[in-house]
């Protein structure tokens, strides 16, 4: 059991982070903490997929030396470079996370302006009374 956890520690880590984020989203009553939990949730998944790209003993995926005079790149061995595709995909996912956080924070500002509170239980009471 323990060597399974150590051998697959990226999976164990992301599951722990995801559950922490999920706990924050569901059981905290402050709306800002829910947004933070949502952020942790997304980032755990991003971390996991980036960790899929790593290889033992491989280097970063930048070709040193570039092109020679005829515009031909030197011959590469793909197995010596870290897989760059998950990195690029997760860049896009990070941008999506940034935009989602921006939208959520803007919504929180409007909720605060309209109802004066960011606690979920007080908020529900105010919605019941004023609508």
């Amino acid at each position: 059991m323990l060597d399974f956890a150590i051998g697959h520690f990226n999976t164990v880590t992301y599951i722990l982070l995801m559950m922490i984020g999920f706990h924050a989203m569901t059981s905290k009553t402050n709306l800002v903490k829910k947004v933070v939990g949502m952020n942790i949730f997304q980032w755990s998944i991003i971390l996991f997929i980036v960790s899929l790209a790593a290889k033992q003993g491989a280097t970063i995926p930048i070709v040193l030396g570039g092109h020679d005079d005829h515009g031909v790149a030197p011959i590469l061995e793909a197995s010596q470079y870290v897989n760059p595709l998950p990195h690029v995909l997760m860049l896009t996912a990070i941008v999506v996370g940034l935009a989602t956080t921006g939208v959520a924070l803007a919504l929180l500002l409007r909720i605060y302006k309209r109802y004066g509170t960011l606690e979920e239980d007080e908020l529900l009471e105010k919605i019941q009374t004023s609508g």
């Binding site: 930048i62 860049l91 990070i94 940034l98 924070l105 302006k113």
Partner: protein, 138 residues
């Protein structure tokens, strides 16, 4: 954060650091294809220089340098640069974003550079405007 910070030391240091941050951000955008970096990362670094100025000098200072009109135009300009390069490739007969057909020396490299610049400009303008809206909300 709406008013300037009182300490002279903080304001001076932040202004110095902001200049170097912007330089580094431009470096990251330009060298995106051959070192870690690229459009989004450089754009966020550029935006963080403005956010640093807002923290130290007050949001009024940033508003003076970067009006809402300029932010709007920059956001759109970046995406137009990106999609414009793609549509130019389309008009020249190849697929969308197929840079090989541009009549420039080293078309693929320059096409990617143009795209990264577009992305960087849009990300910077969008991040600064998000922060500005959050700070100016009453």
């Amino acid at each position: 954060m709406n008013a300037a910070h009182e300490s002279l030391v903080i304001r001076t240091i932040c202004r110095l650091v902001a200049v170097f941050t912007q330089l580094f951000g431009l470096y990251v955008i330009m060298h995106g294809h051959s070192s870690p970096g690229g459009g989004f990362q450089g754009g966020v670094i550029l935006a963080s220089s403005f956010i640093l100025l807002a923290v130290s000098d007050g949001i009024g200072e940033v508003q003076r340098r970067f009006s809402l009109k300029a932010l709007t135009i920059l956001t759109s300009a970046g995406v137009f640069l990106y999609a414009g390069i793609g549509v130019v490739c389309l008009l020249l007969g190849a697929n969308f974003l197929d840079y090989g057909i541009l009549p420039l020396p080293e078309p693929r490299s320059l096409g990617m550079l143009g795209i990264e610049i577009g992305v960087g400009v849009t990300v910077m303008a969008a991040t600064v405007s998000i922060f500005r809206d959050l700070m100016l909300f009453e």
